[in-house]
């Protein structure tokens, strides 16, 4: 490890611009002659559009045009798609309803867009949007996923009878039923995973621009994967073929999944720019719009049964989940409660039989798709709440119950597709136990009791699947795309380097970590390495950043391209120094002949590649190589989280006294950045457990939590200082041995918090978020 190489705590290269106000986010971009779009949105959860009168709005000051769903349909602009096909138990394909970019005839959730006003200024567009008169016939709405299939429930899409999108299953029903029937003990729970809003601090923005001379479109947007946006907008929405559409995602202010998806506003801004004659059309979401239109996360209603034998080994696990996908199927929504969820139901445990059924339903709510962890937090919450509850009901230490059931040898094939390649669950458990001083907990509990406080401890042993994903595998499971990654390494004649990557950084620090990899391999200083991403005109193709894939998949592609560069460098250097190619080593910015004092600066070899004056016979000039990397397996980060809380029985307020996270992410590039990812994930998971939750009015379908006044985001004094530990079993599946760290915190922490609270107050279960009101009521109930 050099001072800038793999494993070094290098300060981030990108920080300089962010701390001086020179970041360049989409809303900071103002192309010449920009116009401003404001959407008219449905105030009803479910209604028929009887008429739209745009006359007054069109005549308002500064208004350029007002467009509706009828205009969009008239121009034959396609609807948005869900790119992952799921088949039901009976083999029938999922039943996806149409998703027009502007609602036509029917609105299906509060916030559904019904018209767009384009004006010279944003204020003028806002004023005119108030003048668009929409006549609605209100229809009954359903927002509770558990009621979506009830007889007489409102029907949301004609394509999906009873609002059922699919009724999917995985695992062995007969074996699981047999395990339950012969169990010494069965633990049963009904568990709700609360609906959340991702809430990156930067609201979404789209700027569409049409160049009539070139018949070419440009979209600037807040995207985690601009190439996938271009693919969908070209191939399905039909804006323009790919070579006539450029998508640029510059600095992006956080994503957490919500900026993976292709949203209606992007289609509308592109289409409208052409419609109004080519002036750019810019839409900037405000925060309430973000609550009403950014995809939400989670929202599962589950019944689970876990079977144990007399020796407390798990013999079977049966799960039935209803997943709420909202009013439309978002880009990857179908995969989240299926292959990203049920395939992780084995947790860290050897479970011989698992069977899961998942019913995905439409409701009159904002679409639900991937949010940090995507399916894996739901699986972890379920498994770890079951384990904790089982330990209490059996009367054994929750740590010992987990230890007894840990997977201990690898590779381990679970009954639900995944094959865990490497791990050491005992190691992360023992690290966490030592850090929290588990043996000292009873004394701490007693001391708290003397102060009138209820102290509790809760564990969570999570596993997740990252490095998404082997293309052939996901293709066989219904994915519409391959999930490889690409990279190009361009060595300049002066020896500086540009890395073009299909990964996208929106806070993860790729400009630093990717440069560290280059430094490790070629010895070039990280200030001489530029990371280029987020522009389809610069980077040929890529699948973007989500599912903790940029290290395990994105960096692996860079490794492959660097291998090719290094091979050419060795050939050139061997020729220049009249040495055997096999004796050439690239080290510390030099290209050396092993065992001699012969060496050339790396830059000299780069220059030789470009002058072409003295290259090996037949070699092409230049030093630029590209690679596509397709992973061979998922990666499996895992760890143990321990939360210690104190509850004030007078108020129900929960204070997190300590939070220990012991993670195994395989090899890590920059510990600062990895720890930062864990911190952020923990805050989101603690937010889910204690503070955050979407609330809809069950009758009207109004979103009650549509601003930061109503939706409780974690603040600095809601969360503790975290205690972070790393263990390492390198991932055998990729060249750097990386597993991924972006989602672990959000996946592992909610059950640790809830296990601690239920331990403290002595109840079997409590719903998330465990607000003071809920905790106080639970204490009263427990006392009664």
């Amino acid at each position: 490890m050099g001072v800038e190489g793999i494993g070094a705590r290098v300060l981030r290269k990108e920080d300089k611009r962010f701390i001086t106000g020179k970041g360049r986010y989409t809303d900071d971009i103002e192309p010449k002659d920009t116009t401003y779009a404001v959407f008219v949105r449905s105030p009803h959860a479910h209604a028929r559009i009887l008429s739209i009168d745009t006359a007054e709005a069109k005549a308002a000051p500064g208004v350029i045009d007002v467009l509706t769903g009828a205009d969009l349909a008239g121009d034959r602009i396609g609807g948005l798609i869900c790119g992952w096909m799921i088949h039901s138990k009976d083999g029938s394909p999922m039943k996806a309803g149409a998703h027009p970019a502007i609602a036509h005839e029917i609105v299906r959730h509060v916030g559904d867009q019904v018209a767009v006003v384009i004006a010279e200024t944003r204020q003028q567009a806002r004023d005119a949007a108030e003048m668009v008169m929409v006549d609605y016939e209100e229809l009954p709405a359903v927002v509770d996923p558990a009621k979506a299939q009830a007889p007489g429930a409102p029907q949301i899409h004609p394509e999906a009878p009873n609002n059922l999108i699919y009724d999917w299953h995985i695992g062995d029903a007969a074996a699981t039923d047999a395990a339950l029937a012969s169990a010494a003990r069965v633990v049963r729970m009904d568990i709700v995973n609360n609906r959340l809003v991702p809430n990156p601090m930067e609201p979404r923005v789209a700027i569409g621009s049409y160049d009539a001379g070139e018949e070419h479109f440009t979209l600037w947007n807040t995207s985690q994967n601009p190439h996938v946006a271009r693919l969908v907008l070209s191939a399905f929405v039909g804006i323009a073929p790919e070579h006539k559409l450029r998508v640029v995602a510059p600095d992006v202010g956080g994503g957490f999944g919500s900026k993976i998806f292709i949203y209606p506003e992007e289609t509308v801004c592109l289409w409208a720019s052409k419609k109004i004659g080519g002036r750019p059309v810019k839409w900037t979401s405000d925060r309430t719009e973000a609550f009403l239109t950014d995809c939400h996360g989670r929202d599962h209603v589950t019944r689970a049964e876990m079977a144990f034998d007399a020796d407390n080994r798990i013999t079977g696990f049966k799960v039935h989940t209803i997943a709420n996908l909202g009013a439309y199927m978002s880009t990857f929504s179908s995969s989240v409660p299926t292959y990203l969820y049920a395939t992780l139901l084995s947790g860290q445990y050897a479970i011989p039989a698992i069977y899961a059924e998942v019913e995905a339903v439409y409701t009159n709510t904002v679409p639900v798709d991937a949010y940090r962890g995507a399916g894996r937090p739901e699986a972890t919450y379920l498994v770890e709440r079951m384990m904790e509850t089982a330990a209490r009901e059996i009367g054994v230490d929750p740590v010992e119950l987990r230890r007894k059931n840990f997977v201990k040898s690898f590779p381990h094939q679970t009954p639900v597709i995944m094959c865990y390649d490497a791990g050491d669950y005992e190691k992360t458990m023992s690290t966490a136990l030592a850090a929290i001083d588990y043996a000292g907990f009873p004394a701490r509990k007693a001391e708290a009791k003397a102060r009138g406080k209820l102290r509790g401890i809760g564990f969570s042993c999570y596993i997740e699947a990252c490095g998404i994903a082997p293309s052939q595998a996901v293709g066989s499971l219904g994915a519409g795309v391959g999930l490889w990654e690409s990279a190009e390494v361009r060595v300049n004649p002066v020896g500086t380097i540009e890395i073009l990557t299909g990964s996208h950084s929106h806070g993860q620090g790729h400009e630093t970590t990717f440069a560290q990899l280059v430094h490790e391999r070629l010895g070039v200083g990280i200030d001489n390495v530029q990371i280029v991403h987020g522009d389809t005109d610069k980077v040929q193709f890529g699948m973007g950043t989500y599912g903790s894939r940029s290290g395990a998949v994105g960096m692996s592609a860079i490794v492959k391209a660097l291998d090719k560069v290094e091979a050419k460098v060795r050939k050139i250097a061997a020729h220049l120094m009249e040495a055997a190619e096999t004796d050439i080593v690239v080290e510390g910015g030099e290209v050396k002949v092993a065992g001699t004092d012969k060496a050339l600066p790396f830059a000299t070899v780069a220059l030789a590649a470009y002058t072409g004056h003295n290259l090996p016979a037949g070699m092409e000039p230049g030093l630029k190589e590209g690679a596509f990397y397709d992973p061979t397996n998922f990666t499996f980060p895992a760890g143990t989280y321990v939360c210690e809380v104190e509850v004030d029985p007078e108020t129900g307020k929960v204070t997190i006294e300590r939070f220990v996270a012991a993670d195994d992410f395989g090899n890590i590039i920059n510990p600062n950045i990895v720890e930062g990812q864990v911190h952020g994930g923990l805050a989101q998971g603690i937010g889910q457990a204690l503070l955050e939750g979407v609330s809809y009015d069950m009758e009207s379908g109004q979103l009650m939590t549509a601003s930061y006044m109503d939706y409780c985001m974690p603040r600095a004094d809601d969360v503790p200082s975290y205690e972070i530990f790393h263990e390492c079993t390198p991932c055998p599946g990729n060249p750097l041995g990386m597993k991924g760290c972006g989602e672990a915190g959000a996946i592992g922490s909610p059950p640790a918090v809830i296990n601690a609270i239920t331990d403290a107050i002595g109840v079997r279960d409590i719903a998330m978020p465990a607000t003071p009101a809920r905790v106080w009521a639970a204490i009263q109930g427990a006392a009664a």
Partner: protein, 162 residues
């Protein structure tokens, strides 16, 4: 329309704007100072914090006209040329930012916080004071560390200057 004049980052500016123009829109749209961000509509998130006459203000909740005649400092004016302000340097040193969107508001709020509390700032006070600034990336851990480190460093600098 109303004419507003103010000093922004040491430069005098006068512009004609609509009466209802918010200070943040004046800074971002009229003056092109896009380092100040908008993250919510309800004065909760603090991405828009600037200093008006030396006091931290949420610029999404003030009219440009209210800052008429004032001295306004934004994130772009905080460093002294290439010399970062100690709070800026501490955010980088302690990895107190990820996506960078809340960062300008966090830094401006932190500078104000340190000015009011000086070396007395402890972790609990910092966390309490950050009530009006939301970060979704960092879990606050390293922001708190950065502010504490900057407060200590600035206290040391002040002591050395005495």
């Amino acid at each position: 329309m109303v004419s507003v004049s103010m000093t922004v980052n040491g430069k005098s500016v006068t512009r004609e704007v609509e009466d209802r123009t918010l200070l943040v829109d004046f800074l971002r749209g009229t003056l092109g100072l896009t380092g100040t961000h908008v993250g919510c509509d309800t004065s909760q998130c603090g991405a828009c914090v600037v200093h008006v006459d030396g006091v931290a203000v949420k610029s999404c909740t003030a009219l440009a006209a209210q800052a008429d005649g004032s001295m306004v400092l934004t994130i772009e004016g905080l460093a002294n040329g290439d010399q970062l302000h100690p709070v800026q340097a501490a955010f980088r040193e302690h990895h107190g930012l990820q996506c960078g969107y809340c960062t300008p508001g966090m830094i401006m709020a932190a500078v104000d916080m340190i000015a009011r509390h000086g070396a007395d700032l402890d972790e609990a006070t910092i966390r309490h004071e950050l009530e009006g600034n939301i970060c979704r990336c960092t879990g606050y851990h390293n922001i708190v560390k950065a502010i504490k480190a900057a407060a200590d460093e600035m206290a040391g600098m002040a002591q050395a200057a005495e």
